[in-house]
Symmetry: C2
Subunit: 366 residues, 2 copies
């Protein structure tokens, strides 16, 4: 890092901070990738150079997450939002119903999309408490005949995160939108039938979504879907049915390399736990000046929405924090207040700067 | 350009060569965009910086193409291949039929996708001559009640390009896949109801597709489509319903700035005409050693597929050209032989290098 390079403390919810070594590598190679005399943006998606990029990205992802051999990995477009529609199109057989655990804006949106084209049921819904908690196991009324049970492992807006997966009824596949805590900790992939995650939180830039699907889920794809909505065809083509989002996949690959260099997901989880601990201790130690949105047992290690005694103070906080180089702290309008997104690539010193700023601000205004 | 920078002569069909000043700007700003202390990949799609990027890209596109006010511009994902499905979903009313002029692999694929979900008809089809020509006006049997008439302005694989638009029956909207000659020449947008174009030929990197739709086409979108497949909603949100492919849109914006600096589409068309002229003169002057796939009156200014006396010679040509720094010349398997893609950003010296190489190769092997 050049001594004159200015970097923001970047608390954006997504697109979000990327690891500096990833950006430096992308910058260095931008005009001439591996001696080709071309940018990664200029090489054919059928070239041996790009094949190496996408194959290494998949291999590193399999290695980091321990993805079993009977799962396919896809790098697709349209974000998690398109997956909300592709998932039921492919995996919910005609006439069947799908179950959704609704714990925030994103699972609610996924549920709504699934209801457009067929039957979908809320197996649990925590909206009555403004999505500040997760349902207890006893609250989940799962349909034993559901095509699948869907949940959202981390709600970016409401800051609630599952510590372990919900248990579906026997034979019901578990499906997860993991967009905002993907790669932040180890997961046992074998408990899932399908995982999808927009890259622009922990895995890379916007423009690519990762789908990890067990073979029996791919076998459910009905005939005659549009090619770009057909999991089976996209998986069989190795995400190369048409031109993929090459640059975004390349950056995801660099992020995966960086994660491996750091020691993998166990190491990443420890670092994330420490960073989140700093923020929650600052909230809990503020005597109520800062109030977390989520109840303690559901707190996310990725997104920390919190409130202050007045909207006026919240606005002042955002303004002064921004001036001090802490950006992206304004909360989503549906929760209000502040939100600190503290993804994998956010360096610990940025979290320390936030915690210090919170203490100073309270001393001044509290 | 650094004196030591090696750049390939890049004849890739897409992803393809980008203007060097665009790459240099992207490289310079990669770690710190406009003093934000963040990469473009790290800023929020709701930030004022990204809003400025996408709004300027749209304004420059409107300016370059002369897009009338009653058209919306969208920057979407999934490539032209997803548009093949979104178009009939949105613009072909239930029970109606759509007409397709089939002139090569891409229009054939668009036609096939349209047929999956409803009625589609080939108004003309030149496959019998292996797509080496365009249909005469008299060959086009257009349905006067069609929901629209679709054509592909340039066939990337077969190298045939319409010099002017086909004329649909009165009241039938004209729709065009302009992916591979988008922005290569002026077009009268008012003759079209809808234009779409994957960016990765002339407009930018892979991962974004531009859709330009007249308001009455957007009014056709039926209720209850999945949000990411709903033109009306995507247009109303200014392509910001969910996180867009920010980096790809940013690069498209830089390409549009570069085009404006060059003098716009009239200037670009003159340059392209000259570059294509050099290649076709080399073919026509070779005494049959090089044979263009397309008949002269249908020749594309963007993609020049050509054959040689034997496959053995063709393979030798590709191998030696690659060694000489001329990359991407292998033809698509459905036509065979060679293909030179000579998009906007390919510098004239690269075309001159190709023409010289062709002459030298013929002298040696002819």
């Amino acid at each position: 890092m050049s001594p004159t390079l200015k970097r923001a403390h970047n608390f954006n919810a997504g697109p979000a901070v990327l690891p500096l070594p990833v950006l430096e590598k992308a910058q260095a190679d931008l005009l001439d990738y591996c001696g080709t005399g071309m940018s990664v943006m200029e090489i054919s998606h059928r070239s041996k150079e790009f094949e190496a990029i996408i194959q290494k990205a998949e291999a590193d992802l399999r290695d980091l997450m321990g993805i079993p051999a009977n799962y396919k990995v896809m790098f697709l477009q349209g974000g998690a939002s398109l997956q909300f529609a592709m998932l039921p199109m492919n995996v919910r057989p005609a006439g069947a119903s799908a179950d959704y655990i609704v714990t925030g804006t994103w699972s609610k949106t996924a549920f709504k999309e699934a209801g457009k084209q067929g039957a979908a049921r809320a197996a649990a819904n925590t909206e009555a408490s403004n999505f500040n908690r997760l349902p207890a196991a006893s609250e989940i009324q799962a349909d034993p005949n559901a095509a699948y049970l869907h949940f959202t492992s981390n709600e970016t807006i409401h800051g609630v995160e599952w510590k372990s997966e919900p248990i579906p009824p026997a034979g019901v596949p578990l499906i997860c939108d993991m967009s905002s805590d993907f790669l932040s900790r180890p997961v046992d992939v074998s408990r899932y039938a399908l995982i999808y995650a927009g890259a622009q939180k922990n895995a890379g830039p916007a423009g690519v979504v990762v789908v990890i699907a067990r073979d029996d889920m791919l076998a459910r794809t009905p005939a005659n879907l549009p090619v770009m909505l057909d999991y089976k065809l996209l998986a069989e083509s190795g995400s190369l049915h048409n031109t993929p989002p090459c640059w975004s996949i390349y950056i995801v690959g660099l992020v995966l390399e960086w994660l491996k260099g750091l020691g993998g997901l166990e190491a990443m989880a420890r670092i994330n736990q420490e960073k989140a601990g700093l923020v929650y201790r600052a909230i809990d130690g503020s005597g109520g000046f800062y109030r977390g949105h989520a109840v303690p047992e559901a707190r996310s290690n990725m997104n920390v929405p919190f409130r202050m005694p007045s909207e006026e103070l919240e606005n002042k906080f955002v303004k002064e924090a921004t001036a001090a180089g802490l950006v992206g702290l304004k909360g989503h309008r549906s929760v209000g207040g502040l939100r600190a997104s503290i993804y994998n690539a956010l360096p610990r010193p940025s979290v320390e700067a936030l915690v210090q700023f919170m203490a100073d601000f309270q001393k001044k205004e509290g």
